[in-house]
């Protein structure tokens, strides 16, 4: 026990504060207005020990690198090693994105963060009728393992860690297999590869849905297949990154964001245990991806609350004993949804404050959005400015000098406690619905997010949420202060490659891979075991997805 505040002191502070409120504060008239966080948690004018009175330092806070990890997952945090500066990049054909990766690495980025285009993320080839207008948009187009070769050509993937933003499991099962298969073709063993794949079934079935979605239970199965495969063969790879960021972008509150990633990780953990994997073989590799939205203190409290709650869940629910299995490690992206198309250079400031909250909250890696993202894919200049924002934060502000600098703040600790309680309550609600996969199938998650998104928009429009340049401080006759990124020609490039590959590859080999895949689907086997080798036949992503949809069926998500 190490209670921080004596009961009699707290009582005295409570009385004095009441007096202050009566005599001083309420004389200022500001303030019948209700103050709330972005997620709707009421905020007081002033916090004192009273608000965190029961705090037991050793039980509730402790030390970095030790339970409950609220002060940080590593003992030295940024003094030992700065966060990874992982700027998202991907557009057009792989030939173009390869150049951007090399540019960012030359400029000091410390990891690759590769995003794929809409068709690739949804399991379509560039040439599919549904895909043609979107080839190369929002990310890089990948159709076969040959595209993966081109994408990482000349990049030392045995030394640089790579994040594959594969989003949907239907994409991940092919694209991660291509990444691994390509490494093997380069004589790099997959157990030497470091990186992360996103692989989140909630993206496929709720958040970034597309035509022909796999039913939730199968999307979830594919996600677990990749985790199981990596656990067995690629132990340095984080096989899943629960994408709370994307949940938040589609409308979640901070509470829903963290509750849903945790419910997702709980569901996967249960499934992997059911498959016979020991907890300590995979638990430390489950990683998380959160948003840094505009409510500065709420975001910091969110990261801290997530760390403490996750360590409790792993310990109490699953009996985890290894400290590494209790750690909530996460990547952060600044909130794309907060960017404005109006006066877009203002977005540099927005993203900088948001990145600061991520770093004060102890993130393991950060992506800062570019100022032009409400208008187009980032240009070289806007990506560079975003990277420099990180470097300024790291090198000039001194925020890295001490660990968890806001720990002990009455306000931040109180908000952390409140967020943790609300997140825990929502996880319990999902438990009552039968777990996350069932909650998705019933449309409960869809409704939760859509309701929040609608309420948020109405609040913005009611004037309760000022957005500079949009509903206040507008400029009339605004002129765009920079060039818009124009997507390089993609479809023709991909079409040509696909045509050549289909002519040159062995039709017999491809047929065998697809036949084996269909049988594996029917028998409930782990598909990645088959595909890492299978993709070397130059089978296309679309061909693989076709087999999956044929055997698993498709689902219409209950969105509206």
């Amino acid at each position: 026990m190490a209670k921080v505040f004596r009961t009699d002191s707290v009582e005295k502070i409570r009385r004095e504060k009441a007096g202050w409120q009566e005599d001083c504060y309420s004389k200022q008239k500001e303030l019948d207005k209700e103050f709330k966080t972005l997620s709707g948690i009421p905020v007081e004018a002033l916090y004192t020990p009273e608000d965190v009175a029961p705090m037991d330092y050793l039980r509730d806070l402790g030390f970095p690198g030790l339970e409950p990890f609220i002060r940080g997952v590593y003992p030295t945090m940024y003094r030992g090693r700065t966060w990874t500066q992982r700027q998202l990049a991907g557009f057009g054909p792989p030939e173009e994105t390869n150049k951007r990766y090399k540019f960012l690495l030359e400029q000091g980025a410390t990891g690759i963060n590769g995003v794929f285009d809409y068709p690739t993320l949804r399991g379509y080839d560039s040439t599919d009728p549904f895909a043609r207008a979107d080839a190369g948009r929002g990310g890089v187009a990948i159709d076969t393992i040959d595209d993966m070769r081109i994408l990482f050509d000349g990049i030392p993937i045995d030394q640089v860690s790579t994040s594959l933003v594969t989003c949907q499991p239907i994409c991940n099962i092919s694209v991660q297999s291509m990444y691994f298969g390509n490494a093997q073709n380069r004589s790099i063993p997959i157990n030497a590869l470091a990186g992360t794949s996103q692989n989140d079934f909630l993206l496929e079935t709720v958040v970034t849905i597309a035509p022909g979605v796999l039913p939730p239970e199968y999307s979830f199965k594919l996600s677990c297949d990749a985790i199981e495969f990596c656990t067995r063969h690629a132990p340095r790879w984080n096989p899943v990154s629960y994408a709370g960021y994307n949940y938040r972008e589609s409308g979640c509150t901070a509470v829903q964001e963290v509750a849903f990633v945790m419910a997702n990780a709980i569901a996967c953990t249960e499934e992997l245990l059911r498959r016979g994997l020991p907890l300590e073989s995979f638990a430390a590799r489950l990683s998380f991806f959160l948003s840094a939205h505009s409510d500065f203190f709420e975001e910091i409290a969110k990261y801290r609350a997530a760390r403490r709650l996750w360590s409790k869940i792993m310990k109490n629910r699953f009996g985890a004993k290894n400290p590494r299995d209790l750690m909530f490690r996460f990547h952060v992206q600044t909130a794309g949804v907060s960017l404005t198309a109006q006066q877009p250079l203002n977005n540099v400031s927005r993203a900088a404050y948001q990145a600061l909250s991520a770093v004060l909250g102890g993130a393991q890696s950060v992506h800062v959005d570019s100022y032009d993202e409400a208008l187009c894919t980032p240009t070289e200049l806007s990506s560079l400015t975003a990277l420099r924002t990180q470097q300024i934060l790291q090198l000039e502000t001194h925020v890295t000098h001490t660990i968890d600098p806001l720990g002990g703040s009455y306000f931040v600790e109180s908000l952390t406690n409140q967020l943790e309680a609300r997140i825990e309550a929502m996880i319990e609600e999902i438990d009552r619905l039968g777990g996350l996969v069932k909650a998705v199938k019933q449309g409960w998650i869809h409704q939760e997010i859509a309701n929040t998104a609608y309420e948020y928009q109405k609040a913005v429009e009611a004037g309760g949420m000022p957005i500079v340049g949009v509903n206040c401080y507008r400029l009339e006759n605004e002129e765009l202060p920079f060039e818009i990124f124009r997507n390089p020609e993609t479809l023709a490039v991909q079409e040509k490659k696909l045509e050549r590959i289909k002519k040159e590859r062995s039709a017999q080999k491809v047929e065998k891979v697809l036949g084996d895949l269909g049988r594996a689907c029917d028998q409930g086997d782990n598909l990645m075991e088959l595909l890492v080798d299978g993709v070397k036949s130059y089978v296309t992503e679309g061909e693989i997805s076709g087999v999956l949809k044929q055997h698993y069926g498709v689902w219409n998500p209950p969105l509206f």
């Binding site: 895909a131 207008a133 849905i209 509206f560």
Partner: protein
Amino acid sequence: MAKNKRVVMARLGMDAHWRGSIIVARALRDAGMEVIYLGNQLPEGIVQSAIQEDADVVGLSSLSGNHMILAPEVVKLLRARGAGDITVVLGGTVPPDEIAPLKEAGIAEVFGPGTPLEKIVAFIEGINHKVSE
């Protein structure tokens, strides 16, 4: 009495972002319109549904950048099927210099990021050529 407006809404092609289109769909519904939400569709599918549903308005959404290819195609197909009186509007991330060519192609209005719901609802309510038939 004027009948309630019927609005067919769709996300173009592969575009994944549903937040904007769902929020607009709800706002239109709350304003008393009938909304048929299609999800992701290609122009052909959108036009078929619009005609079948006897829509007054087609609301397209895209944040992926595919709008310059797919949105004008919707207008073209509607006109080719004798349904050119159905108004087509578009919402999403549209760079400012693409608005004029879209309007030339027959898109009645383009709602960029940050457009108030009120404005979208008012615009659609204000369309009257078909309802008055």
